[in-house]
Amino acid sequence: MKFDGTDLYAALIHELKNDLGLLSMTIDGIPLQGDTAHDATVDAARLLCQNVVDRLQQSLLIYKAIDQPIRPAIDAWSPHDAVREIRDRAAALARGRIRVEAALAPDVPEIWFFDRDLVEMALINAIHNSLAHARSVLRIEASMTDGCLALTVRDDSAGYPEHILACVATNAPCQSTGTGLGLQFSRLIAQSHDNRGRRGELRLHNDQGAVFCLLLP
């Protein structure tokens, strides 16, 4: 195989991502001992590990998005299944430290057309944020807004800082590290969803905490 410089980095990140995945599964295998000091440390390691895995996955996607726009693989998926899956993942990451709730509005249809993997990556990114900042509760919602499927992650944190809200609202580039990087990535994913000229959106606001919302046409 032949690599140029950037491909080599991508391959390296890819390998690290897989190793970390294995590490994360190994940590999952450590039993809880009921000893707070021990269990909390294991939990923290597990959360951090998952976070790094998800971040690496994002960075690979962003790396590809430099050359060409993200091309979602759209198919029919169940929003019900997606919310349940994300709730289970969030609950596993939270391990009872933060309460995880899920809610589906009655008018959410049985199927919707979107790229399940990309959308879940964006939502997990928001969930990592909320787990880091929420006081006690995190809530995943699905509802219909302006004819779009709205997938929302909300928490009871102090909310997004003003400059983040401003850059997302104006579609300007956000800071390229931490929360900003993740949001930029989520915005790319939302906007890559297009249905008959209507583009997806990322909307952020504060309402007794941070509210992260993907609108999928």
Partner: protein, 558 residues
Amino acid sequence: MAVDSGVNPASASEAFIDYSALRALVVEDYPGMRNALRLSLTNFGITRVQLAANAAEAIYQVKQKSYDFILCDFNLGDGRDGQQLLEELRHSHLISLETVFMMVTAESYYEKVVATAELAPDDYMIKPFSPEVLRSRLESVLFRKRAFRDVYRHFQAQELDAAIAGCDKLIQGKPKYLVDALRFKGELLVTLGRFEEAEALYQQVISMRAIPWARLGLSRALHLQNKDEAAEEVLRDVMEQAPEMVAAYDLLSDVCLARKDAPAAQVALEKGVAISARTVRRQQKLGEIAHTNGDLDTARTAFSNVLEKGRHSVFVTPGDFGNLCRVQMEQGDLQGAADILKKNKSTLQASPEGQLVMAVTQGMVHVKSGKLREAAKAVAEAIALRERGTRGDANLMLDMAGTCMASGRHDEADGIVGEVARNAHDSEVLLARARKIYDEAGRTDAGASVLAVATADVRKLNNEGVVLAQRGDFRAAVDKLLTACAEAPRNPRIMMNAVWVILKYVDQAGMDETMIEAARRHLDEAERQAPGHARLAGLRLQLKNVESRFGIRRKGSA
């Protein structure tokens, strides 16, 4: 703990899955990952877990006992990949539609290739994933399989109309499975030759959203109605939107061939191979088309890949060795061909077909290197095999005819060419190759007469039979076409026409056991000669209808 509203609307009893009853197989080449996956499964209650490190081990395990759930890594090291394993398991009917097959991919690029493959897994996971995701997706697939239980049952009993009715029930009553049911119904309609209805169905899906598989389905339905220009237009769009969808390139090559544009068909297949080089059947087709186009380098690479990447694959036949050697000899590389034979001697000796490939190819090598005595010996061996009923594919038989001619055995050569021509009376490519063999042997006139006689007989009988059938004289039509079958016992078109008129005749005149038996036999032969031909499933279904109307249960039928 979690306060949920509106999630999991299904009733609790309906939503119960007994994980402890599931038998699972994990196929993964990396031992660390294999054990981690087993642990994940155990954690949510699947305790009956077997492990396999590669495709060969997986096939062995699946032959020993049946599994409900196969979790398979796409990348399995040097051997076959997960997609090839899936294709072999389904092709050889080692797993049924009820078995859940989930693919694990590490590359997000392959995830798209896998997700858009024609024979797609039930779902796929991108590595690394958490146990919760695995559990949640497995659960969704199990519920879906439960909803499709009746459809699958009818499908497996070849009751395709009932399977379609089952899909319609889901389409009307289970909005969650609307799109899945439409997808399955579309495939059934195509199998039954109901292309117009399939076209309308795919248009219906596209009106919801222009997803790639629906557009591919639309394109196929158009192609099968000979609307190739429209089919190609749809395909070009698919390729722009989903360039990793390999099946689109396969279909495009079929469309190009229908338009008699073999160079364009080759270009399309080369693009498909660039995405997924391991699929044996795509390489076989590329080799054949490149050979027809006179592009020997490409043909050689493709045929070598068939043998290299298809090692142990059920899709590789002795004819594939013959194909590679033929190209090598046309390139003047006699040593290369001899090496291939030597290296694969034990594989080829294992079956009469393989022995025929060996004898014919060896004969060609000897003829080309001027060793006429050895050539005569190989030719004699090939002739003996043929007399015992062994046959190869049409190209190998033409090779054999050429070698016979070079050894002065003109009568045998003419007999073989006549047989090939009768069995492929409508194949321009094969007839042209036969003519070339006679030209090279300086027997142009003899060849013209052999071919004319062979094809004229079959064509005449076939046409007369079809005309009689159209006039409604099915009895006389049956006689004509059965005579044609006897003349051309491997000609799929003749076989299918014969089956068609027999069914018409029985429909009109009442049951005739001998005729139905002949119909069965000819349909089986047609299937062997032209696997997957668009007319086969429709005939199969009509035969079944006639059988059940007259109360016949075939011995051993499912």
